[in-house]
Symmetry: C2
Subunit: 162 residues, 2 copies
DNA sequence: TATTAATTAATTGCACACAATTAAAACTTA
DNA sequence: TAAGTTTTAATTGTGTGCAATTAATTAATA
């Protein structure tokens, strides 16, 4: 497989393969994107039973992680951290506001911005949430070196993608 | 598990903790899940302009990758490969059927199963799609060793998650 | 064989994601 | 300062994902 990869990536692109030639690069198992896509969904699913006890979805959990660190953030700042736009965040944050986990208010000095801040009920979730990362690491049963190597490589990929 | 080791190795010392953040494992940057989640979305977004030329979404592209390999598959088999259930696949496949890329029919020997097979328009997408993996590799500008290492590690993670 | 269990898709309802557009506020600059 | 530009959220519309349920078919078994 690695040889094929080398050959194809080094091939002269002015002489493309005929379309009926089996192309190993088109095989699902040779893609990078698929294991990334699938592992992301499966890992989110692994969080599900733990988050369900707190009534949280996974992206809501990410928002809380940031708010536990920063107390308050604008929608724009949340979007920069999470790489999400207002089309995703606005309805998500409204649902979290209804649950009284956070508050949304316009910034007094700049009415364009909306400041998201923790409410007591949102603060209160931090205690029970503290155990989630450990529980997940246990469930993964992944060697630390592998965990850290993978996280590092994913962060590199993320840098390349921005 | 080995909590002390985990804490020491997973905390990112270039970003000192606020005094009121008791658990480094709760910081967004120390999670594995977030770069996985974000990189998956960003990589899908990188495919977008290439897929848009063919009128495809990313999961539709994955379905075609499998059909180009296997000619026909049941919904169940597609779901096993892609780790998706009928709740996702049925409407997705109906949209692809409307575009005449594929056909859905009940298996004659087992009326529970639905066989998905390529139509000419779906076959015809294979030629133009052939260049997508290479174009994406170019765009990533990722060393081949890193590409393969990351893919291998993601496949390991995927195995752990099943 | 009759009944029960298991399998397979489809359906329903909800929550993301995200492109594209809109609207309000703040900034720039002529 | 007036006009145009930029910034920030919200809105709209489409397409996933997925849990839970339903319905039809097949398999298992008493």
């Amino acid at each position: 497989m690695q040889l094929i990869y080398v050959l194809l990536t080094m091939a002269d692109s002015s002489h493309p393969l005929p379309s009926d030639t089996p192309n190993p690069l088109l095989r699902l198992e040779n893609q990078l994107c698929f294991p990334l896509y699938a592992a992301s969904r499966m890992l989110t699913k692994a969080y599900q039973p733990l988050l369900l006890e707190l009534g949280l979805t996974y992206p809501q959990y990410l928002v809380l992680l940031l708010l536990w660190e920063h107390q308050e953030l604008t929608v724009k700042e949340l979007g920069e951290h999470l790489l999400l736009d207002s089309g995703t965040l606005t309805p998500l944050l409204k649902r979290m506001e209804q649950r009284q986990w956070l508050r949304r208010r316009r910034a007094p000095h700049d009415e364009r911005s909306v400041i998201i801040s923790l409410e007591p009920a949102g603060e209160a979730l931090r205690g029970p949430a503290c155990r989630i990362p450990e529980q997940l690491l246990d469930r993964l049963g992944m060697p630390e070196a592998e965990f850290i190597a993978l996280r590092t490589q994913l962060n590199h990929l993320l840098t390349r993608l921005q």
